[in-house]
């Protein structure tokens, strides 16, 4: 519109936080989850993850999410739902009209969640599509497939996540054109974004900031070393941090990924730590890149996220006394309203 009538509209100068795309790679390797069954079954982890995703969607209305399962023998989309899966569904149901499948365009919109007036619609759509696809993925897993490959398809999941991110980023309009590394433009170079050597120029981006979160349970990934390294370097070039949440397995490899790309690495190796999965997700992984500039991020030594003081894992969830509280009143109100009204999160699997 702005181009057509050459007017300068107010939206162009919005001073909002840029929307962020969170891509979660969930390692669904059945072997590894079976080993974790006592302390953290997959269903519980998924319930925690859904709360986390909802929180991400709630922070900014323009935030987006994508979930990819890195399964034993293939990598598959959990959200948004790919077209062929949707088509099968419409054929089975026979009732959903064709226009949905065409309009959906990879938003998972065509998979109709049950109507619930009390639930925020994006939550409902995401949850329904996610759970539905995960169930289908598990149902379609054959014993032979599990036996043949004890590992997980992390390289494929990462590559697909990156392809998706690059496409999403290129379709989002930006007010500053050169902010993102444009790989298809011959006049740009990797790592050479800062041609004018102006570090502040990136701050004005209104485009999509993306990050990848890998929830990993499998150990050995050595057979895909080159492919995973390729993806990691691509992330580094595009300045996409890879956050790692390691629930089990050998840490060396993914630690490198987080270190190279500037993401957060945390390993929950004890059952006690795994019990606090949601807290870890919310505290360590919820802030996006813009917020992370102002926070002290957790390191290997269990530093407090807010004040940087050392904490043992036992009192991790407590509020440190020295943190300045800016909006005391607002915080209280939210806490109150959460108790009485049926929140928009009703129906979400409750992490217990």
């Amino acid at each position: 519109m702005n181009v057509v009538d050459a007017t300068d509209r107010a939206e162009a100068h919005e001073d909002l936080e840029p929307p962020s795309l969170l891509t979660i790679i969930l390692d669904t390797n059945p072997h590894a989850w079976a080993l974790l069954g006592d302390s953290l079954p997959l269903s519980k982890a998924v319930a925690n993850l859904l709360v986390f995703i909802n929180a991400h969607l709630a922070i900014n209305y323009a935030n987006r999410v994508a979930v990819i399962a890195s399964h034993a023998e293939r990598a598959a989309w959990l959200y948004p739902t790919p077209a062929h899966a949707r088509k099968q569904e419409t054929q089975m149901n026979g009732s959903v009209s064709n226009s949905h499948a065409q309009n959906g365009e990879g938003r998972g919109g065509a998979v109709q969640p049950p109507d619930d007036a009390n639930k925020y619609r994006p939550f409902a759509q995401m949850e329904y599509a996610f759970m539905d696809n995960l169930r289908k993925l598990m149902d379609s897993t054959t014993t032979e497939a599990i036996q043949s490959s004890p590992s997980t398809m992390l390289a494929g999941a990462l590559t697909r996540a990156l392809a998706y991110i690059s496409k999403q980023t290129s379709t989002v309009p930006t007010t500053t054109t050169n902010a993102q590394f444009n790989y298809s433009d011959p006049s740009s170079v990797a790592g050479g974004n800062d041609l004018n050597n102006d570090p502040t120029s990136n701050q004005t981006t209104q485009g999509l900031t993306s990050r990848v979160l890998i929830v990993s349970v499998s150990g050995d990934l050595a057979d895909k070393y080159i492919e995973i390294m390729n993806s990691i370097f691509a992330c580094q070039r595009l300045s996409i941090p890879i956050d790692i949440l390691k629930l089990a397995g050998d840490p060396v490899f993914l630690q490198q990924a987080a270190d190279t790309t500037g993401g957060i690495y945390m390993s929950l190796s004890t059952p006690q730590a795994r019990a606090g999965l949601l807290q870890y997700l919310m505290f360590a992984y919820l802030p996006d890149q813009t917020a992370r500039d102002h926070l002290i991020m957790p390191g290997e030594d269990g530093t407090c996220l807010l004040c940087g003081s050392h904490l043992s894992m036992a009192n991790y969830g407590q509020k440190p006394a020295v943190v300045p509280r800016k909006k005391k009143g607002k915080k209280k109100r939210i806490a109150d309203s959460g108790v009485d009204t049926p929140g928009s999160g009703s129906g979400t699997p409750i992490p217990v």
Binding site: A76, A83, G106, R160, P186, S187, I226, M229
Partner: protein
Amino acid sequence: MVSRPKDRVQARWEEAANRNWELQEGADGSIEGVLGGLEEAGKRKRLLKDTTPLQRGIIRHTLLVLDLSTAMNEKDLRPTRHLLTIKYTIMFVREFFEQNPISQLGILGMREGLAIRVSDMSGNPNDHISALKILRGTEPKGNPSLQNALDMARAALYHTPSHGTREVVIILGALLSSDPGDIHDTIKACIRDRIRVRIIGLAAQMHICAEICRKTNGGDENYYDVAIDEVDYKQQLMAITTPPVLRVTDADSSDTQGKNQSALLMMGFPSRIVEEKATLCACHGNLTRGGYLCSRCKAKVCNLPATCPTCDLTLILSTHLARSYHHLFPLRNWSEVSWSRARTKGTTQCYGCLSSFPAVPKQHEVANGTEHDQGAAKTKRAEGASESSRYECEACGDHFCIDCDVFCHEVVHNCPGCQSTVPADISEKTNGD
């Protein structure tokens, strides 16, 4: 005077020119038919490269020779040749060390008939960049001398180990070379020392440049080119950051110097340590709380890659080596997909990014289509672009959009399809190789 024939063949420089005014609209007034896929074809043109795995020289010793003569004051490249060269050279240095983390680079200049040293051979990009920034304030002067530059480069590369490559990259703005002696002797000496010379001209072709490049590259004529504009200049410069293919002659000459020496190279892979109290590092003498311990002598260095200051061991991280893997195992090119192929596969979405493809036309529409319609459909897409906007990886058979094609080949160097499924026959032929 012989008059020019009227229907003369298009000159080479004219071929690349795009004649927008000759575009014809279709009957319905759309120019999509004419432009169809021009953009996609352009994107793909850069992609379609040779993907045979080759032995490449990852440890490079490169000297960059910049022309600092009066010819660089020309303003045909904006703002001037000199300033643009410095700007691009800074980008080149960054990209070079990104692609070749264990290589060494040095920069020379040609000014007033002499060769001057801008920065010494070093593996640290910041040394070069700061030297280049100082150079920005100086004025180009006098004539260049190719012979002096080559002689100095030869001397600088003389002591480099035989397992690495020895390369000289010359950026030449002038159309002359004022040499003190016979340059052909210098060329012969360069060939003897296994030095490969590449020249990027900024003005016009020069015979002596072509000869230098041809002779030092074993008869290959692709190493000399003239940049036609800023974009072309940058592309040519950036193309040099890709590690060069090792030639048979390189292997032969290193054989004579000892087989074991060239085949294996001693390196240390230290791991990072975090200390309670700050200690001095061996490389700068600064107090730091972390660093890497040399695997042989336990000296602490702050940054990798580095050469251990105590025992001269090359210290790198495995990630530095892994950065070069995609040069060694390139991703196979994807092929265009015809409508009939798209119909049999029935793909509606890009496998990588889930964006929708244009729908496959109905079978009877194509069958009933008149002759000229089919002809139009054929000429509709530019060379290299797929008529169905789909691109197929031949290893896994999945279809991708043009953006994913470019992205996967230029950035990730992985095929999303091959990586996401276990190949039917468990062979090692993954990643489209």
